[in-house]
Amino acid sequence: MEKLLVNIGQNLFVLFGLLAVGGAGVLIFSKSAVHSVIGFLFSMICVAGCFLSLQAEFLGVAQLLVYAGGIVVLFLFVVMLVELTKYQEKGIFQTQTKFAIPLVGAGLLIFGGVFRAALFGASAEDALTLQQGLVGATENLGNAQAVSRGLFANFILPFEILSVILLVALVGAIVLAKSERV
Amino acid sequence: MAITKVWIEEGCIVCNACEAECPDVFHVTEESCHIKGDSRKDGRESENRDEKAELKADLQSSLEASIVAAAAACPVEVIKYDQVASADAPGSAEPAAAPAVIASPAPVAVAPEGAPTAAPAVDADIENAVDAALGTTGNTAAPVPAPSAAPRPVAAATPPDPPAANPAKPRVTKVWIEDGCIVCNACEADSPEVFHVTETTCMIKPGVRLDGKESENRVEKNGLKPEDGERLITSIITASKGCPVDVIKYEVLGDAPVVEAKPHDAAEVAAGPFVLDYKAAPNRQVVMPKTVPLPSLHTYQEEQKAAVAADGAKWAKQQADFETAKAKALAEGKDAPKPPVRAVPKKNENDMEFPAPSEAKDPDLLHLTDLLDGKVSQAFEQSGELILQVHPDGLIETLMFCKGDASLRYEMLVDQTATHYPAAEGFAFSVVYQLISISRHKRLRVRVLVKEGQDLESAVEIYPSANWMEREIYDMFGIRFTGHPDMTRILCPEDWEGHPLRKEYPTLGWGQRDIDFREDRSGVLMRMALEKAGNMGINLKVPKAD
């Protein structure tokens, strides 16, 4: 008991991780689209829990705020509005099963290899810490500052590229919606 | 006749029915039913099963009717009694009835222990014989109908010979309703004198039954009055055949006539625009109007002229009478009679004066009459209102003029409605359009007369407000409007039958009836009402003075 509590962070991480995988399973295997979204939501919340158990509060909370609070709502919105039963009957959905199964198999193999290397390989011996350059900076700072320093100092270029991609997606969505409307 | 002994056989289900019928004799306890001490000679209160004590002498005849009714009402038939003819009973006034019963060994009937009690119910011949014997006295107005409901064990005793039985005429002896009635009203439509359809089931009416009770007659299978059984045989058989679930059963004495069942399907109902089968629902009788109150200047003037002429003729006759009387009196040397005084029209003391129609003087009416050129059949003024009656052909033209003509400008159609005149010749409805001119502050009523089944042209194109009003007219009167965008019912449901504001449409609904509890002698309706209301724990017994 005592041991379980002392390692509570680690244990919670495992627990949340398993729950997240369970949620992802619901997302994939559920018959109802709304149930899938609920599974997705659950998965997202559990991922946030993972972050929190690693004491990355800012990331965890941001995960909650952005994914659970924003993006999944939009998914749900769309799924609710579209009358899926009709399209299910027509067989428009779930047509890609025959491609999906080999793809998932391949993905499992690849990621399994990666995970195996990460968890049991040589690098698993290293401590999971921030980059050397950041270590000193985070000592007296809160979580948010550490993340922001990482984003806006070290990784400014990828960050900006990402924002451009998002902008493109935004514009694309507007264009699609407009043409649908007219 | 009188009842000497009453007792309760085993098997009482404590149903209170006997106490309801005859509270003086029966007293229902929690376990059984007792014969009251007040009414017994030995003064004890018990079921009287073993001792069979006699009733008090003074009660023997006075309570007879109610005891018989109680015995008949008993659902398990455990109430038995000895019935004898007594000399001082009012029954002695019935010469035909008395011998019939006396002929049987007195006391009339005590079924031997273990005798079948249900079996005689099917023994139609025997009961028929008794019934026929009693039936001859049917018109002698026995004070209570109950004695004719002879106790059932009589069947086991020797039947008397029917003195006046007439086996030639077939008749229905019994009729009852099996389980499964769907309350369809078909039987009541065929034979309203026998059947009475309530909300939950169908009943045999008390008027035709020997025991005078109203029930399904399922358990008791009580007989019909012979004369009714004879008279109503055709209708009962028709009803039985017409019953969609075949729950009406009957027993016939003699050869049943061959009767075709009347069809009671939906096709019959939907055949006409509105079926007025008064026989099907006598409670929906409608008094149709005799007069045609269609105001018209022409008719009014004719009436006035006729009234003046009648008055003149009356006066002339009075004067002529006076002259002859005077001449006669002179001839006989008597005093001359008083000369007649012409009656002055009665002075109107009320603040009320009939607004008589007058010639059209209003420029609008004159202008429209000119414009329409022969399509106007009448134009007059009454009660300060302008009325223009046009031919149905010219209706749309009239409305267009009213709206469009620069000197008329009736912008708004405020109201449109119809009236049904079933007594009129040549037309059945008048449809009126109330127009107002908002700019000129004038009102005008346009009227058309429509025949039954004739369609009118819709005014929606000219006055969009006519939309709902025409739908309402269609709904209420059945007048259709051609060119209307949506000629459907508006207030009544789509599948409603009939058009309610027609004069022949009855004011009572199907199956609606007035329940008069004063006629509810057996208390059936009262009991049903109580059942419906639920047991409210109220003692409904009428309080006694003692």
């Binding site: 946030a48 800012f58 909370v61 909650l64 705020l65 609070g69 609710m80 809160g142 | -």
Partner: protein
């Protein structure tokens, strides 16, 4: 002295019980207050009694005082004779309300998605109550357990559950999950009015979350902290009043407060933004098909989020545990910190009292507004959100950044 892990867990449990108990008591009281406040505005009495008996009347016993509520009624009627406390007449209404909701028949529509239908009120409730994990009712320890207290002697009992350094974000994140309760509940009812209500609500909450967050960022930028306790402390003590900057900061906070409160009304679906449950249009909006306990979960979560919004507003704009709002406390402190009068000196220190008073006042404002204002139309609501509030908050955000730079 630092607690051991077990002691820490026990104290946390006690704190959770205390906070939940506080909120769970406050919500029913709030419903009673709603009856009374709106009743007062509308020239009527509001609740004065609880009708009928719980079970006495059915058994034919007519005497009121023998029933539970009847007895309470008698007591409350007696209370009504006294001038001030007579306002408490009808207080048992909140017990009766809770009992009624607990004992009502729980109806699940035939064609509803049963699992989701059951899940969504729970989701709304959990989200609304988890938020209180990050709300700090009092800075530091509320009290210390006495030394003789078994097991916990000498340990502090805090006025907050956790002291996350991203407390604000946590609250926003968890609160944003609450919308699922509404949307999923609406969808699972398989009925048209709830669906419309759910869609309205989802769109409304998602779009008002943006100005809400942006307006909360104004004090965050001004103080430089996302932590609940640190925020009010810095606001009161650390940031000195600096002439023009100080005035500008106060003004900005003042405007920000109103913007935030407006968004808060929309977030909690209260009048004039209660479109999700606009009973005149959508019968009862997203919870049309809900009854009994499930309905009361929605009900509770709405009132709990009212408390959350009030707590946030008082912590971030109204000075939190300190007396004065809008960052005016430093000036007050400057004059009275060393005042010889103890009471004045005391007003310069943080206290749970001020915080609660501010919350209560804001809750009163919620009720007041409900009694006064009509409801917006849906498109107007969206216009207000996107065309006015978001630009305003963005401008405020920029000004706040400039002020921060200047200071």
């Amino acid at each position: 002295m630092t607690p051991t892990l077990i002691q820490y867990l026990v104290i946390s449990l006690l704190q959770i019980v205390a906070v939940l108990g506080f909120v769970m008591t406050l919500v029913p009281l709030l419903t009673f207050a709603e009856r009374k406040v709106i009743g007062y505005v509308q020239v009527r009495l509001g609740a004065t009694r609880v009708a009928g008996g719980l079970w006495g009347a059915q058994r034919g016993r007519t005497h009121q005082s023998r029933t539970i509520t009847g007895g309470l009624n008698g007591f409350m009627w007696w209370l009504g004779k006294w001038p001030v406390i007579s306002i408490l007449r009808g207080l048992p209404m909140f017990i009766a309300d809770a009992l009624k909701l607990l004992t009502k028949e729980d109806i699940v529509p035939t064609d509803a998605d049963k699992a989701v239908f059951v899940l969504s009120p729970a989701l709304a409730m959990v989200a609304a109550f988890t938020v209180f994990a990050a709300i700090s009712f009092s800075p530091g320890a509320l009290f210390y357990f006495p030394a003789k207290f078994p097991f916990l002697g000498g340990l502090p009992f805090n006025g907050f559950l956790t002291d996350i350094n991203v407390g604000l974000l946590f609250i926003l994140g968890v609160a944003s999950v609450g919308v699922y309760g509404i949307v999923l509940g609406a969808w699972a009812s398989n009925s048209k009015y709830p669906l419309l209500g759910g869609l309205r609500s989802a769109a409304q909450i998602v779009s008002y979350e943006v100005p809400l967050t942006l307006s909360l960022l104004v004090p965050v930028v001004l103080t430089g902290s996302l932590n609940f306790n640190e925020m009010s402390t810095r606001m009161a003590a650390d940031v000195p009043v600096n002439g023009l900057v100080g005035i500008g900061r106060s003004l900005l906070m003042f405007v920000g407060f109103f913007v935030y409160t407006t968004c808060g009304f929309a977030e909690t679906n209260r009048t004039p933004f209660d479109l999700a449950e606009a009973e005149n249009e959508l019968v009862a909006g997203f919870h049309t098909e809900y009854s009994g306990m499930k309905f009361s979960f929605f009900f509770l979560s709405e009132y709990a989020s009212m408390i959350t919004v009030s707590a946030l507003a008082s912590a971030f704009f109204l000075g939190g545990h300190y007396l004065l709002p809008f960052g005016l406390q430093p000036a007050w402190n400057h004059f009275f910190q060393h005042s010889p009068y103890a009471i004045l000196a005391w007003t310069c220190t943080p206290s749970i009292l001020w915080f609660l008073l501010k919350i209560f006042f804001l809750l009163f404002v919620f009720l007041w507004v409900r009694a006064t204002l009509p409801r917006y139309r849906y498109d107007q609501l969206m216009n207000v959100g996107w065309k006015f509030l978001i630009p305003y908050t963005l401008v405020m955000f920029v000004i706040a950044a400039l002020l921060r730079y200047a200071a």
